[in-house]
């Protein structure tokens, strides 16, 4: 559905995006994971034709020009900066964007009602957006992107500055959209979100894709070993285990396959009184790939 081929963009001599290529299949949730300033938003803006790449090409549904009206009609976008008019009501915002997509009359009313219901804002439809909480504004931002039922949805950091309740609601909404078969491009610097929502993730840093694959494969390939910490009821002073350190009845163990390792320890007669398994995740993938944390 979406193909980016060797995209390159620089601003005032600074390379923001460098040789970025990927393909997104219909119905896929594709994540762009990277710290702030990695180039995620620049990639999104090139995908939708707001920015022209210095080099490379974007193809959406076979069209090489994302600025074409028929292509834009198939894209919904929820920008990182809230794209709402804060002196209008939620209903008026949706009606305005609906009009721009050619909706009118009953069809427009139905779509507004549907979008409001989808993000749980039906009871606040007459409220002035400026009075909404950050979470409610983010949800309405998503609703505005969905007003015309686009098959491709671009969500740029959709949970920034959002309270836990709204974040949970946004996750649920995205999972529902995924079930509907909508293709989603999701940028975030929260690895938990990418891990939970995305089928495939591109790890981005300083304008380059460092790795791109499914979450499991990324973790397996770049996540490093899991760490198991625990305590046992009693242990022989002479007990040893490869890759582990014991101090009294406490132990630490690093392993690629934590569950199998724990099973073997249990078979060896250890009686666990406390266990903590810290598995590899996308954070450790990023750390291993760049030597830095995602939040650096």
């Amino acid at each position: 559905m979406v193909t980016a081929e060797k995209l390159r963009k620089q601003f005032n001599g600074l390379v923001a995006v460098d040789e970025v290529s990927f393909h997104i299949s219909p119905g896929e949730v594709f994540g762009l994971l990277g710290p702030n300033g990695a180039g995620k938003t620049t990639i999104i803006n090139m995908l939708v034709g707001v920015l022209r790449p210095d080099e490379g090409e974007v193809t959406i549904d076979g069209s090489h020009d994302p600025a074409q009206t028929q292509v834009r009609n198939r894209i919904g976008n929820a920008p990182q900066s809230l794209a709402l008019y804060d002196r209008l009501t939620a209903y008026e915002n949706l009606a305005f964007f609906g009009h721009l997509y050619g909706l009118s009359g009953n069809r427009l009313k139905e779509q507004i009602a549907r979008a409001l219901d989808f993000v749980g804002l039906t009871d606040r439809q007459k409220g002035i957006v400026g009075t909404f909480s950050g979470g409610m504004q983010r949800r309405l931002n998503l609703a505005c992107a969905l007003i015309h039922d686009p098959p491709l949805l671009l969500l740029d950091e959709p949970t920034v500055g959002v309270d836990p309740q709204s974040r949970y609601m946004i996750f649920e909404s995205i999972e529902k959209l995924k079930k509907r078969g909508i293709t989603i491009v999701y940028t975030t610097h929260y690895m938990e979100e990418a891990q939970r929502l995305c089928d495939r993730v591109a790890i981005i840093d300083r304008g380059k894709i460092l790795a791109l694959d499914t979450v499991d494969t990324l973790i397996e390939d770049f996540g490093g070993r899991a760490i198991i910490e625990g305590e046992v009821a009693e242990i022989s002073v002479n007990f040893t285990w490869p890759g582990s350190t014991f101090e009294g009845n406490r132990f630490t163990l690093e392993t690629q396959k934590p569950m199998e390792e724990l099973a073997r320890l249990a078979n060896a007669g250890l009686n666990f009184t406390r266990l903590k398994v810290e598995g590899a995740n996308l954070e450790s993938v990023f750390l291993n790939l760049t030597g830095r944390s995602l939040r650096d």
Binding site: V50, S81, A83, R87, L88, L100, Y101
Partner: protein, 425 residues
Amino acid sequence: MGKVITLAGKDLRLLVRDKSSLFWVIMFPLLIALFFGTIFSGSGGQMSGMKVAVIDEDQSEFSQAYISQLDSLEALSITPMVYDSAFQKVRTGRLAALIVLKKGFGQTGGLFSDTPLVEVGIDPSRRTEAGYLQGLLAQASFMQLHGKYSSPSLIREQLDKLTLDSGAWKGLDSRQLARARSFLSSMADFFESLEELSIDSTADEPSKRPAMFAVKVTSVTNDVARPRSSFEVTFPSAVLWGLMGVAATFAVGIVKERNGGTYLRLRLAPVTRTQILAGKGLACFTASFFIGVMLLALGTVVFGVRIVNPGILAVSLVAACLCFVGLTMMVSAIGKSEEAVAGAGWGILLVMAMIGGGMLPLMFMPGWLKTLSHFSPVKWGILAIEGGIWRDFTYTEIWLPVVILLGIGTLCFSAGVTLLSRTDR
């Protein structure tokens, strides 16, 4: 076109919901019109005269008539009172001055006396008005004397008194005395003949008598082409202030939209950049035109502003609005933040207002500033709107300001759109 109207409708709705902007767009221009209109008003609100106390120590018929004469002057507001009370009020600043008519004032009318028979006490903080007050007192004296000696019979009576007054001829020898009396007798005969001529005529009516020094003052214009009240001057300025308010508000709105996510969403929607700009322009024009019409309607209905040529006024208003749509686009492109655009935008607009006669009328400006005013759209806007209100411009006369306004608007619009397009890449 439907999308352009949708875009414009959204901007107008945002404007209506922004109370602080509404103040600058509607209330501020109105206050300007009312404030300056009232200050300079000749009909809408009379300027109050200088408040002075009069102490009449002479208590003669002449002094009473003199006080009435003073009271008839618009520039003075007279209150008869006793000296101590008047002194106290002037000292405490409640009155500007006191005038004392001393004993003997009625005998000579205050003229040709060895000792001053009129004393003026003035509030020290109003020294500059002392000369003005002296002038008014002299004016009243001459008016009084004019009244006293403009009737031939009154003059003849005075001449007879003088002829019989032996004290007045002291120091003259008998030959000089005979000549003087002969001259006065001839004068008396002359005035007697005038009096006979005036019988059965209307010559006794003061307005029909020849004045001592008659000057007729006329305006170098026809009867229509002059402002009938100061509001006819201040309301065109107010319209321009309204247009400046709309321009500043929309310029800030454009930069706010660009910095927020809404502009990005608009560009992702199936609308062209031209449609987006047209929507902004249409909203700005509609708001400007509405403000102009509203202010002029208020001026007409409440403050008696005449519209001598509605067609010319409509053309002028449309041209001024289009000009300020162009300015809006340019101002919105001169900064990247709302603060920068608001500050620089108002700065530019205020300079235009200052040199264009939006604050101080052009007539009070030095020559070089008048020349500079040609570069201000405010000057041309005011001139064009006045053309339809009281200057009674013809379509031949209005084309120059209209073409200049449209030219400035087009240049600014092009510059603004070019600058905005650069930042979109």
